[in-house]
C-alpha cells in the first residue's frame, strides 16, 4: 500500500503543478457554479423553455378540459396531466417544477369571464423558484386570454354575460351599454372573418388587441407553497454547484487520463514497470490519485458553496456517499480515457470531446429541468446525469438512503466496467 500511496501523492503533486490541469479541475468549476448561480438568482434563470408542470383537472368540464388542452400545447411549458396526490409528490421530489390545479367550478367561472366572479386556479411551486413561478403566472394568464383571440368565442362570452346580467336583474347595469356595443362590434368582426380569410387574421388580431385592452385579469391564481412538504434548493447555487463539482471531477478524469499517456510518452512508465511494482499496483496508484483528486476538488467546491453561497446539504453522510461513488465512476472513466489516445494531444482532445458530450447530455451544461423531455430521457445514458443526481440527492432533493442507492450504484457500475475495460486495453498496449 505504501508504494500505491507514493504513486498517488506523486500524481497529486504533479497535478498541483500543472496549471492548465488545475484550472479545469478546480477554478473553472468554481467560475461555472458561481456565474450560473448568479445568473439564475438574478431572475433570468426561470426563462428556460419547457418548465415541467403537472396539471390537475378537478373540474372535468368541457371548459376545464379545453383549458388543459391549451396548457399542454403551450410553448415554454412541458405540461402533463396528473392527479393531485401524484402532482404534489412529484413537485416535492423535484421531478416537476410546479403543479396547476383547476378546482371544481373552474369551467363555469371561465365561461362568464366578463361577468360574475373570476375563475380561480391554484399553483403549487417551490418558493425558491420565483422565476419559474412568475413565468408560470404569465403562461396561465396567456392561456386564460386565449378565448379572446377568437372573435366568435368572445362574442359568445359577451352574449352569455348579457343574458346572465338580465337574469340576475341586480348587476351589470353600468356595463350593459358597453357589452351591447361590444357584442355588435364582434358580430361585424365575425362576419368579416368569414368573408375574407386574410381579413379574418386581421380581425383576430384586432380582437386580441381589444381583449388585452380590457385591462383586467380573467383569472385569479392562488399559489401554494410546497416548501414545507420537501426541502428544495434554497438558492440557485444548490443547483449550479453540483454541476460545477461534476465539471471539476471531469477535469480530474481528463488530467489523470492524459497523465498516463504522458507517463508512457516520457518513459517514466517504463521506469515504473521495471521497478518492483506490479502493473496492478501502478494502475491502482493512478486510480487512487484520481480518486483523491475527485474527493479534494469536490470538497473544495462544497466548502466554497457552503461558506460563500449559503448552500446547506440535506445530508452530509449521503453527500459523502455520492462523492465517493462519483470518484469510483470517474476513476474508471479516466482509465478508459487514458487508452483512447497515443499522444498527450490526442488523449486530451479525444478525452475532452467525450466528456463534453457526456456533460451536454447529462445536464452538465443546462439543468435537467430545462431540457426537453426527449433529451431528459436520453440523459440517462450519461454518467454526468447520475453524478449530478447523486450530489443533488444529498444537497437538496432530500433523497433517502434507498433513493441515493440508484445513482450511486450506477456510478460504481460505470466505474467498474470502464476501469476493467481500460485496464485490459492498457495492458494489451504495453
Amino acid at each position: 500500500m505504501g508504494a500505491i500511496w507514493t504513486l498517488a501523492l506523486k500524481d497529486l503533486r504533479l497535478l498541483l503543478r500543472d496549471k492548465p490541469g488545475l484550472f479545469f479541475a478546480l477554478f473553472f468549476p468554481i467560475l461555472y457554479a458561481v456565474f450560473f448561480g448568479v445568473v439564475f438568482s438574478g431572475g433570468g434563470g426561470g426563462d428556460g423553455a419547457g418548465i415541467a408542470v403537472l396539471v390537475v383537472d378537478e373540474d372535468q368540464t368541457e371548459s376545464s378540459r379545453s383549458f388543459v388542452d391549451g396548457l399542454l400545447a403551450l410553448d415554454g411549458m412541458e405540461a402533463r396531466r396528473a392527479d393531485r396526490e401524484t402532482a404534489t409528490a412529484r413537485v416535492r421530489k423535484g421531478d416537476a417544477t410546479a403543479y396547476v390545479v383547476l378546482p371544481q367550478g373552474f369551467g363555469a367561472a371561465s365561461r362568464r369571464m366578463l361577468f360574475g366572479s373570476r375563475a380561480t386556479l391554484t399553483i403549487g411551486v417551490d418558493p425558491s423558484r420565483r422565476a419559474e413561478a412568475a413565468m408560470l403566472h404569465g403562461l396561465l394568464t396567456k392561456q386564460a386570454f386565449a378565448p379572446m383571440r377568437d372573435p366568435g368565442a368572445l362574442r359568445a362570452q359577451v352574449k352569455a354575460a348579457l343574458v346572465a346580467s338580465a337574469a340576475s336583474g341586480q348587476d351589470g347595469l353600468a356595463m350593459r351599454p358597453f357589452l351591447v356595443a361590444l357584442e355588435q362590434f364582434l358580430g361585424n368582426v365575425v362576419a368579416t372573418t368569414e368573408a375574407n380569410k386574410t381579413a379574418g387574421a386581421e380581425g383576430s388580431r384586432a380582437a386580441e388587441t381589444d381583449g388585452d385592452a380590457f385591462g383586467f385579469q380573467p383569472l385569479r391564481i392562488e399559489q401554494e407553497s410546497v416548501v414545507r412538504a420537501r426541502r428544495g434548493p434554497r438558492n440557485p447555487f444548490a443547483i449550479t454547484f453540483p454541476q460545477g463539482i461534476v465539471w471539476g471531477i471531469m477535469g480530474c478524469a481528463a488530467a489523470f487520463g492524459i497523465s498516463l499517456v504522458v507517463e508512457r510518452s516520457q518513459g517514466t512508465l517504463a521506469r515504473l514497470l521495471v521497478s518492483p511494482l506490479s502493473q496492478a499496483r501502478i494502475l491502482a496508484g493512478k486510480g487512487l490519485a484520481c480518486f483523491l483528486a475527485v474527493v479534494s476538488v469536490s470538497g473544495v467546491l462544497l466548502l466554497v458553496a457552503v461558506v460563500g453561497f449559503s448552500v446547506r446539504p440535506d445530508s452530509w453522510g449521503l453527500l459523502a456517499l455520492g462523492i465517493a461513488a462519483n470518484g469510483i465512476g470517474f476513476v474508471g472513466i479516466m482509465m478508459l480515457l487514458s487508452v483512447v489516445g497515443k499522444t498527450e494531444q490526442s488523449a486530451g482532445g479525444i478525452g475532452w470531446a467525450v466528456l463534453m458530450v457526456m456533460a451536454m447530455l447529462g445536464g452538465g451544461m443546462i439543468p435537467l429541468f430545462a431540457m426537453p423531455s426527449w433529451l431528459r430521457g436520453v440523459s440517462s445514458i450519461s454518467p454526468v446525469k447520475w453524478a449530478i443526481l447523486s450530489l443533488e440527492g444529498a444537497l437538496w432533493r432530500d433523497f433517502t438512503l434507498a433513493e441515493m442507492l440508484m445513482p450511486c450504484a450506477v456510478m460504481v457500475a460505470i466505474g467498474a466496467v470502464s476501469f476493467t475495460a481500460g485496464t485490459m486495453i492498457f495492458r494489451r498496449t504495453l
Binding site: A3, T6, V274, P276
Partner: protein, 282 residues
C-alpha cells in the same frame, strides 16, 4: 550475476535477439556493443522483465526471472529514454523512485543527498528537472537507477547526447559500481567507451552475438595487425606488423630522413568491421 540462456525475441518476422547466451559476473562491467537495431535494447528489456523472451531465459543472481517483482528489486535500470518527471525537482524525482524501492526516512534522505553530490547535481537539487540540461538529466536518470544499491545495474546508452562533463561523471559512477562489486551491463555504440570501461564486450549485430571476450582479446583475435606509416621525402611507407614498436625502430633505421610516423592500432571499430564488413556507425 546475470545469466542469459538461449534468449530469443521475435517481433513478427523480425528476430530481434537470436539465441543469446551470456553469463555476467559480479564486479564486472559488461559491454553490449553494436549499431542501432543490433538487439541491445531488446536484450536489456528482457533483462528487466519488460519483455518476455520467446525462447530461453534470464536469471538474476539465481533468484529467477525479472518478470517477478521481487527479482526486479535487485535491478537498477537507467533506460535509454530519459525517464524523469519534468515537474518534480531533482531531489523529488530521486525521493520518489527511492520510495518505490522501499527506502524511507533518513536512509532515503541520506541516499538522495549522496547521489546528488556524486552526480554533481546538489546545487540544482531544488530545481525542476525540466530546467536541467540534457547532460544533467542524463546524470539524474543514472542516479535514479542507483538509489537502492542494486546488485545488477543495467545502463542503456547512458551517455547518449551528453556533454563531456556529464560523460566524465557517468564514467566515474560506472567505475564506482564495479568497485562496489556490482554487475554492470553497459550498452553503447561508442567503441571508445566500451574500450575504456568494459571488462568484457559482446558484439551484436542483427540480433546475433558475433563475438564475446575482453577488449584486448577481441582486438588481438579480430582486429588484425597494427599499421605503421612513415612519411619520407619520397612519400609514405606502410608496414603491417604485430609489433609496432619494433617496426617503427626498423623503419627509422631505413629512413633516417623520415619526418612523420603514424601507428594505427586495431580497435573495436576494426574488430566490428572485420566481423560484419561494415562500420559500427553505419
Amino acid at each position: 550475476m546475470l545469466t542469459f540462456a538461449g534468449l530469443t525475441k521475435r517481433f513478427g518476422e523480425n528476430i530481434a535477439v537470436r539465441e543469446l547466451s551470456l553469463e555476467i559476473m559480479p564486479g564486472e562491467v559488461f559491454g553490449l556493443l553494436g549499431p542501432n537495431g543490433a538487439g541491445k535494447t531488446t536484450t536489456i528489456q528482457m533483462a528487466t522483465g519488460r519483455l518476455a523472451p520467446d525462447a530461453g531465459s534470464v536469471d538474476v543472481r539465481g533468484l529467477g526471472a525479472p518478470t517477478r517483482t521481487e527479482v526486479r528489486a535487485a535491478l537498477g535500470v537507467a533506460p535509454q529514454e530519459l525517464a524523469l518527471y519534468d515537474h518534480l525537482t531533482g531531489r523529488e524525482n530521486l525521493a520518489f523512485f527511492g520510495r518505490l524501492y522501499g527506502l524511507r526516512g533518513a536512509a532515503l534522505r541520506n541516499r538522495v543527498d549522496e547521489l546528488l553530490e556524486r552526480t554533481g547535481l546538489a546545487d540544482r537539487a531544488g530545481d525542476r528537472a525540466k530546467t536541467y540540461s540534457g547532460g544533467m538529466k542524463r546524470r539524474l536518470n543514472f542516479a535514479a537507477a542507483l538509489l537502492h544499491e542494486p546488485s545488477v545495474v543495467l545502463l542503456d546508452e547512458p551517455t547518449a547526447g551528453v556533454d563531456p562533463q556529464s560523460r566524465l561523471h557517468i564514467f566515474e559512477l560506472v567505475a564506482e559500481q564495479k568497485a562496489a562489486g556490482r554487475t554492470v551491463v553497459y550498452t553503447t555504440h561508442y567503441m571508445e567507451e566500451a574500450q575504456r570501461l568494459c571488462d568484457r564486450v559482446a558484439i551484436m549485430d542483427h540480433g546475433r552475438l558475433l563475438a564475446l571476450d575482453t577488449v584486448s582479446a577481441l582486438v588481438a583475435g579480430h582486429g588484425g595487425q597494427s599499421v605503421v606509416r612513415i612519411e619520407t621525402a619520397d612519400g609514405e611507407v606502410r608496414v603491417e606488423t604485430d609489433d609496432a614498436a619494433a617496426a617503427v625502430a626498423a623503419q627509422l633505421k631505413q629512413h633516417p630522413d623520415a619526418h612523420g610516423i603514424h601507428v594505427d592500432r586495431p580497435d573495436l571499430e576494426t574488430v566490428f568491421l572485420a566481423l560484419t564488413g561494415r562500420s559500427l556507425r553505419d
